[in-house]
Amino acid sequence: MTPVAVYVHTPFCPSKCGYCDFNSYAMSGDVVDRTVAAMLEEIERSPWKGRPAKTVFFGGGTPTFLSESQICGLLEAVLEAHPPVEACEITSEANPGTVDMPKFAAMRAAGFNRISLGAQSFDSGDLMRLGRVHDADHIARAVGSARAAGFENLNLDLMFGLPGQSMRGWRRNLATALALRPDHLSLYGLTIEPNTRYYRLHLRGMLDLPDDDLVVEMYDEACSQCAAAGLEQYEISNFGRECQHNLCYWRGEEYLAYGPGAVGCFVDGEVRQRYTNMKHPERYVEAVESGGSLWCDSEVVDTPTHEFEKLMLGLRLNAGVSADVAHDAAGRAKMVASGWLEEVPGLLRLTPEGRHWCSTVTSELAPG
């Protein structure tokens, strides 16, 4: 059986951040325990049991919001259902405010070998406006603890284009982050999503967002600083030692998913199917307990759609995407002429300027 990427979604957070539209809930107590029990049950009953894990990724929410025994127990169940391949990358996201040295040590012992810290910013004003529970000191301490616990592969998430953020503030953030010597950086431009507090504030004109020009400059600045620090860009938002799990997404491969609201995509015979689990923890628990389907949504990804997705995702990679999935010759010529796209034998890839225009290039290359 071919190895496959495995994703585990833990939907709990200490509090809900203003910009966040992920499937996360500020819940605690009994419902957390019942959800974890249901997740163990889901993994135990998995139809894909026995398929080896190519990578494992715990995301959220905040996986480290769970207790040591809960998170380690979940990993144990995953590894039992999906024996890890040699040198399997096993990541957990972590919130700097919800971790300490003993927890990291226990996680490392359970098998996790990569930590992704949601730092977001080192500026206390930014962090407060984002609604994060940690402050700048927590981040440095969390990095130290993770290293001490034996994590040799560590990522920091940072956000740019934040309300009130200046170029100076962003540069300081980057420098502080790089000084912590992470193996990897993920840099995300803030997007205002519907159903968030930020969205409502934005509608009322109460978010002081930097304009397009400044956001582009912030992004370019980050790309050059990462390069100078030896973190090579390999994807639009990602720099440094490649995340094997996320590469599976960008290459259009299969991924299995467990937990409330988790999204998986698998091939069964000729059919590629994507599914989403029940999102609300209570609904999810009910579904697991009743023994019925856990899906709240599913779609068959037919060949043209899959090709479009491969194009959309593959273009994000610096390595480029197979030229076979670009069907619009005129659009391709136009994008090359505008200096946003490069043709290398068999591949198409974005130029540095083109990385600002990934969606436009995708649309231009896609069939009518």
Partner: protein, 598 residues
Amino acid sequence: MDQSHIRNFCIIAHIDHGKSTLADRILEATGAVRGTAQEQSLDTMELERERGITIKMTAVRMNYTAKNGQTYQFNLIDTPGHVDFTYEVSRALYACEGALLLVDATQGVEAQTIANASMAMNQNLTIIPVVNKMDLPHADLTMAQEEIENALALDATDAIPCSAKTGLGLEDILEAVVERVPPPSGDPAAPLRALIFDSHFDSYQGAVAYCRVRDGSVKPGDKIKMMSTGKVFQVDEVGVFRPSLERGLALECGEVGFVTGAIKNIGDASVGDTITLAENSAVDPLPGYRKAKPMVYCGLYPTDADDYQDLRDAIEKLQINDASLDFEPETSAALGFGFRCGFLGLLHMDIARERLEREFDLDLILTAPSVDYLIQRSNGTKDHISNPSEMPQPHELASIEEPVVDATIMVPNEYVGTVMTLCQDRRGTYVRTEYPSPKRAILYYTLPLGEILLDFFDKLKSSTKGYASFDYELAGYEASDLVKVDILLNGDIVDALSFIVNRQFAYYRGKAIVEQLRKVVPRQQFEVRIQAAIGSKVISADTIKPFRKNVIAKCYGGDVSRKRKLLEKQKKGKKRMKNIGSIEVPQEAFLSVLKVAE
């Protein structure tokens, strides 16, 4: 049925005076429809229901047993009430001998009451005044009667009070139809003469001609001849509307119904034509209808140039059901191949667009509406132009005349001043004032048609708290100081956005359109300059700053579907845009001229 027991009548009224509701009650009372499950039975088009107005008239056959114990055949023809559809009202009148003149007891006589009633009087129809909405607390029968007498010079002493809502007075109305409306007067023994007053196209039966048999009769199997073209068809079916089509054995003298005969070419069942028999033909056709004259013109283009042929087919099909729609091919440098279409008014234009998009699944772009101008060139030649791009250069132009209308505005006394100011702002010429009742005035104005096209009616309504009513009739041409204003995007004239306007409003309108365009044209990947100009003189300008990037966001396993759908949606949106040079312009841009508020 014996001709003496047939009654053909219609209901004419100002919009919202309760015509469709009364029609429903009559249908129920005669058992033509059961119950009130579906209110306003005669409004069959989805659009009509949505907008709460009647666009296409419908003719319904009913049987009514009168107090005298005899059974009569009623043919009720429903008519539209909006000012745009005066022409459809005029066609309905040709099929009738009588009309119920419906007046709202709380509103009294309104502008369209006057317009429609005069049309009916010119047709020598018997008019039965009916005062509706008597169930409302503010109903005022005396006021309504006074206004009918003063404004219409009709005897209103035996006006029938009624409430279409509660059914009050319904029997009196039905009895009055029997007693007062004369039976049809045709000759059953004479050669067939049937007047086509409407039609629709059915994909299985071909053209369905709605007609009124004046003389003779027609039945399936008959060979019929269209008198204007001489073309012969064999009748498949005849029948009546109950209100849906119901097949019958024959249409007799005086009756109203439909005829089909595998008439594939829609032009062969044209409204106003007379149907006769191929053998034993009538000698003279019935007098045809006055052809509706379009008031408003605009360009109609497919968003996707590949849909041109589909658009042509769709307009042709729509035209058979909408005889007042006029069109001819035209080309635009900006928009490619399309059609110049003439409409009765803006509502008519909007409805036609919506029907084309909805019923034929087309994506359309409409250009700025224009009226028909009469120009004289320096070399003495004269021309009608309805497309601003045909306007000669200023030095080639000797004079230009614009269409004007005789407007009738009915308004409570306290708003007379407001309305006069509005009319003056629109370059109106005062004619006279009449007072049909102590509290209300009728203002007569001559107004340039181009000035009332866009938002005059809205303005009139809003400045009189909704009390004013308005009707107009074309009254010829008058000289005027008009100029063509061009709109330029990055230096190129967008011909589809040019418009003709009185010189004194040119600056204001140009500026407003530039502002409107700045709002609706999305940011592009380069700077876009928008200008309004008269000849080479720029009168207003603005720029749209370029984009610098797309959203730079993460994309992992849970984001794929959503991100893909977003891109697909954007791509679809792009398809609805028109490329002018390298600038993507959304459809709304071409209607921005309409949205220019005061």
